[in-house]
Symmetry: D2
Subunit: 155 residues, 4 copies
């Protein structure tokens, strides 16, 4: 069964090892699509990842909000990197599918996508993400996502 | 097949009026996010829209395929513009949600996202899209999407 | 968990009025499908609803777990009734769509589906649900769902 | 369109072997949940399966339509059995996740869920389903679904 065998975090594993943290950040740095939209990887811990995206004039749709597809991009990536923190060393992860609900216009000064692992199985990892729109006056959840990730052993 | 049962277009309505075609293409032209990833709107007819994306080095993920989020962007847009062809004059459309399955690596020389309307209601429009990866040697479906669009009457 | 960011309930609105509670429970009582699978509506509060389902021999799949479609039924209903608590008086709600991930075999003595509202708009309500499998030795999340509900004003 | 590009069946594989057909129908017969709602498995061929459900008074929601969760049950099963036709001998299949859009009230004399395989991989199979509402006066698509199935080798 898919997820019956979720791996509990090893005791004390509340932060990633420096090597693991570097491995994941290096993977992100090789995603040219993230650089093109100016997204960056911030917080990273076991089962969680956050991506930050400043709102700028090259990522908008026709009425001036951030394009829903761009919102999907950072949600997909944040949840995917959250999953990678739970994959075995040397493994890659691939997005099998995701479903995202847009709940409010993505506006403000920046967006923050928070991904987290709900259950990590040996082959599949189930995650969720939420995307917050940040402005000078506060924050608002503009999208929520539910995703399935596949673990791909390497070599 | 899922999409075989889409409602037939009203008799005679096999092409968009020049004014409607121009309205929709103008909307697309105002999406800076589409320009940033170098996507363009091609075929447009009642209930259908196609978006073309050349594969270039600014839209990739860490192993050199087109980023899944970018695949989602063009699928979302293609289906959204398909929906706009079926919305009343003067109305805008917004993505309520979408769900996309990645089925094969998005590689090749370009991607083609084909959106189509499955059912157009007064408030909600249900669409699907598929994304084809095109190369010198053929084509391959790399993703399928199912989406809900909301019709927003304008002032 | 995704739903951690749900909008707080309006101050003071921590319980439903007796009339509203009765209206919603009466709606549930008219769902013959829920009686057929032996599901019952338990906890009900603003933005939340819980459905309980004993595991019995008429709701299984081929290897003896509760059928995934039945898991989907109670998740859909729990989230739909959570949405109904946030709809205007006299309105009905309809499921637009839902997406559910099965994470572990649905086994044990009973299932508990917990639905909650993430954002309630005038026309659409976004919800999530989780389904817990309960047994003598503990509980386990066996599915999570993300759903869109439409508010239908009544004549 | 979504499903037009499904992988062609291997040459000559237009019907299931009698043994394979019997194996799959036997699996369905062991699903007590399908008997409880009175669903039956009809057409079965490589990559396709159809489930029939008479409309009766034990599967309804509060306003007299077939319960959306029941619509989801037969869509999930039809697509799952379509996937099983493409799985290796001896393997089982499990639903990883599905997403369903309800497009019209499920009413009439019976429902027909048609599942089909879009892409069959070694570990995961992507499927779609549509649910038709049949009546004396015609038929109407009332739901479409997109699903991910996992192949589970046995023994």
């Amino acid at each position: 069964m898919t997820a019956a065998t979720t791996r509990p975090y090893p005791a004390g594993m509340t932060v990633l090892s420096p090597a693991r943290d570097a491995f994941i950040r290096n993977s992100f740095a090789r995603q040219s699509a993230m650089a093109t939209i100016r997204a960056s990887l911030h917080h990273l811990s076991p089962g969680q990842a956050e991506i930050h995206l400043p709102v700028w004039d090259g990522i908008l749709q026709q009425v001036g909000f951030v394009h829903g597809g761009v919102v999907g991009m950072i949600a997909d990536s944040a949840a995917g990197y959250a999953a990678l923190t739970r994959a075995p060393e040397g493994a890659e992860v691939l997005t099998v599918e995701y479903k995202i609900n847009m709940m409010a216009p993505a506006t403000g000064t920046s967006l923050l996508a928070r991904g987290r692992v709900i259950r990590a199985g040996r082959t599949l990892i189930v995650t969720t993400a939420e995307v917050l729109a940040l402005s000078d006056t506060g924050q608002k959840t503009c999208a929520i996502m539910q995703q399935t990730i596949m673990v791909v052993p390497q070599g």
